[in-house]
């Protein structure tokens, strides 16, 4: 297969690259084709090459010492991946790259890419955009893991307590419990409970008072606990 250098303008990192640089990249790189389920590299290998996916799909997977795997992202056609070796010469790949279907990718030596970066601001900007995109995505995922899990647990705790000690008065369900009680029952801290409850109060789900919680919108809490919240 022959790579047309102008195709490389479809790579975000190279969208502002002049033709001579694209020619240089094609000339300096090797096209590696692998079968479905094969690997471009493994986690922990020295990061000697950066890749541009030409055909197919590749997943980036990280495993912990116990062998549990997390799929971090899927690379699609004309995306650059594994470029960290260009930034840090002693880097090792933090993930493994496994083909989800027969794939081919241009492999560029990290050293070559690093040398090109010295005199080409577009390349630096392109790589930084790639990096900041990754960081933002990870921050979102982290927030989801850290907060939504707590929200669901707290909602579930409150519902469970409501079924045991809730009193229905004036059409609303009231819990004779303090935030401290909720924290202890859910295994979280008073700070988290306080922060979450005041957020819910703002959204009209509950009303908090001294040693009591009134459920203004019980069904809203059910939705949070079930993880089917639309907002």
């Amino acid at each position: 297969m022959k790579i047309n250098p102008t195709d490389l303008n479809q790579v975000d990192v190279l969208k502002d690259a002049p033709l001579e640089d694209l020619n240089l990249i094609v000339e300096k790189s090797i096209l590696r084709s692998i079968e479905e389920d094969s690997f471009y590299f493994f986690q922990g290998d020295p990061a000697k090459y950066a890749y541009i996916l030409v055909t197919g799909r590749v997943k980036l997977v990280q495993s912990n010492p116990a062998g549990q795997q997390v799929n971090l992202r899927t690379i699609k056609q004309w995306e650059m991946f594994a470029a960290l070796g260009a930034i840090r010469s002693d880097a090792t790949y933090p993930v493994a790259a496994q083909a989800l279907e027969p794939s081919s990718a241009l492999a560029i030596e990290s050293d070559v890419l690093r040398e090109m970066m010295q005199t080409r601001p577009y390349l630096n900007m392109g790589l930084m955009q790639l990096m900041t995109g990754y960081i933002q995505e990870m921050q979102n995922r982290y927030r989801e893991l850290a907060t939504e899990k707590v929200e669901r647990r707290l909602a579930l705790t409150i519902l469970r307590l409501a079924s045991q000690v809730g009193i229905k008065s004036q059409g609303q369900i009231e819990l004779p419990l303090s935030q401290q009680d909720i924290a202890e029952a859910s295994g979280s801290t008073i700070y988290t409970v306080s922060r979450t409850l005041s957020e819910w109060e703002k959204r009209g789900l509950i009303e908090t008072g001294r040693g009591r919680i009134v459920m203004r919108n019980p069904h809203g809490l059910v939705e949070i606990a079930e993880g089917i919240e639309s907002a």
Binding site: L159, R160, A162, S163, G166, K168, P218, V222
Partner: protein, 74 residues
């Protein structure tokens, strides 16, 4: 306190709670599921009346009651 038995003739009423409905007419569970409610297994069963359920899930109360009394999920 009053006793009730599982009676085929018993009619679900709009003021019944979900808890009461499911205990007296267990076959209604499939109707709650059919209407895509979270009522079966919910912690708030004893607080919600059938008319509350209809309101929360925005379904027609009369149709909902009829389905509950037909005990059919169709």
């Amino acid at each position: 306190m009053y006793l009730w038995s599982m009676n085929e003739d018993v009619q679900v009423q709009s003021h019944w709670t979900v808890d009461e409905t499911l205990r007296r007419v267990p076959q209604t569970a499939k109707v709650f599921i059919k209407y895509k409610t979270q009522c079966v297994g919910c912690f708030l069963q004893k607080f919600c009346r059938i008319k509350d359920v209809a309101e929360v899930y925005q379904v027609n109360l009369d149709e909902f009651l009829k389905s509950l009394n037909d005990k059919k999920g169709e």
